[in-house]
Amino acid sequence: MSLGADNLGIRGRLEPLSVMFEEGQVTAICGPNGAGKSTLLAALAGLIETASGKAVLDGEDLKNRLPRERAQHIGYLPQDGETAWDVSVRNLVSLGRLPYGDEAPEMVDAALEALGLKAHANRPVSTLSGGEKARALLARVLAGQPRWVLADEPLAALDIGHQQALLSYLRQTAAAGTGVIMVLHDLSLAMNHADRVLVLDRGKLAADGAPENALATGVVERVWNVSANWAGSPGERALMVRPPGSA
């Protein structure tokens, strides 16, 4: 039960890197703009052609899997969160069953329930608030019961309350045995909530490990080119940032 990259490279965006992820963990991918975070995530979801190496699912090249079969294992939550037509929340969530070709109402109900959307099931998505919509989009992924959830900046458009709520849903998902890999811009969230952090810098792996190590002050200063230090105690860390040179 593994997902990872084996010498995986994308021309112009990602230098070949090898990394394996673990189920039941929340892994955050961090890095400055253009570092290749979303590219790595999309490659792990089998969505982009690799220039070298491969994405590996259970020891096998992801390319050898049929798209539908791959989709049964890996749920991917893109960043834009667009919905082209104003369908109901239930219909949106049931799209998560497409890889199986069924509508499995009990799975859809379970996903709605898990994200506290039961009462909103029949509302059109256009009437949802940003926080509710983010939950609905995550519920869509969970309805397919994937072993891996790959989320591209799932917290970007949310206020701090909804960020915490969605994070706790993602943590629950990981606690149930699913591997959660997400791109995060907010380093404090990554520090406090991830089990493991990958730091990418200009297409290269700059750090990988427990948050306290991978996001150590030295790494943050070098990769993001700021003067920074962590305040607070473990689990409640906050990043104090100053412009370079001002310290």
Partner: protein, 321 residues
């Protein structure tokens, strides 16, 4: 069965029977001579053809709007209708249109050529933007060739034939056209049906759809085949009939759950109904020469399109879509 399907399945047979009696001559079995012949040889095939052509255009519009995730998409944008029309124009130009089978066959050849070209240009990557641009390029190219053919027409008669035919009509069609269009249109709608789940996946955008197992190249192939069969056969028997593919999915959408898959069959039924009613209306209108069906539908369609644009601009798109 959805609300939309049930409603349409009630309306369509009623309108169909009514249309058999409607026309310049209102049929009265006790009074009209040869009433049975008029129905069997003129009005029945014409009514069937209206339903077939409308069903093809309506379902193609629903599929294309789902594919492009845009309520303003119309199957005519993709170059297949202009391609078919160019084929038909060629048959006039060479004088082959006098033979009844050759015009639709030329039109189908034109539609196939447009489909082939579309698949050739866009097929490799499966990208939506390239597909749309390729379609628009083929449409304008076919349009340019049509204008060229008209301006260089061998004689005034051929020119007027071409121009009249392009306006789209179901006048004087026979069972032959029904036999040609019915199986092709049915096959085309079946292609859209095959694509319905992938169209649903596209609700969440291209990347999410691919992550759920949608294969862009396969989806595109179903759609090219579907639009080619429905619109190509429609143009080959009736000429260019615009706006049906644009309007019908809009009229139907509020009565469905708004998933593209839920829209294909109701749009086929509603398209059939719209063209049937419009064709009956142009027969009834007391004009010296019958108003061309294509013109009548454009007269309804263009203001509707404008209304749609204005409504979207005012930010009511959420309710519309």
């Amino acid at each position: 069965m959805s609300r939309a399907n049930a409603m349409l399945l009630l309306l369509l047979p009623g309108a169909f029977v009514l249309s058999l009696f409607a026309g310049r001559v209102w049929l009265d079995f006790s009074a009209t001579p040869n009433a049975m012949v008029i129905i069997a040889e003129l009005r029945l095939p014409r009514a069937l053809l209206a339903v077939i052509v409308g069903a093809g255009l309506g379902s193609a519009g629903a599929a294309m709007q789902g594919y492009l995730r845009n309520p303003l998409a119309d199957p005519g944008l993709f170059g297949i209708a202009p391609g078919a029309a160019l084929g038909a124009v060629a048959s006039f130009w060479f004088g082959y249109a006098a033979s009844a089978w050759l015009l639709p066959l030329f039109a189908l050849a034109g539609a196939s050529a447009a489909m082939g070209l579309l698949a050739l240009i866009a097929g490799r990557t499966g990208g939506i933007a390239l597909f749309t641009l390729a379609g628009m390029m083929i449409a304008s190219l076919a349009g340019a060739f049509m204008s060229l053919a008209i301006s260089l027409a061998p004689n005034a008669f051929a020119m007027s034939e071409i121009v009249t035919w392009l306006m789209g009509a179901l006048t004087d069609r026979s069972w032959r056209e029904v036999y040609l269009a019915a199986p092709l249109t049915a096959a085309g709608i079946a292609c859209f049906w095959m694509a319905r789940k992938d169209l649903d996946a596209l609700i969440l955008g291209d990347a999410a759809a691919r992550s759920m197992g949608m294969r862009p190249g396969v989806l595109q192939a179903w759609l090219i085949a579907g639009v080619g069969l429905t619109v190509g056969s429609g143009v080959s028997v009736a000429g260019i009939i615009g706006f049906v593919g644009l309007i019908v999915p809009h009229l139907v959408r509020p009565f469905t759950d708004r998933r593209p898959s839920s829209l294909i069959i109701p749009s086929a039924l509603a398209g059939g109904l719209l063209v049937l009613v419009a064709d009956s209306a142009v027969r009834i209108l007391p004009l010296v020469t019958e108003l061309r069906l294509g013109i009548a539908l454009s007269l309804i369609g263009a203001p509707f399109f404008l209304w749609l644009l204005l409504k979207m601009r005012r930010g009511h798109a959420g309710g519309m879509l």
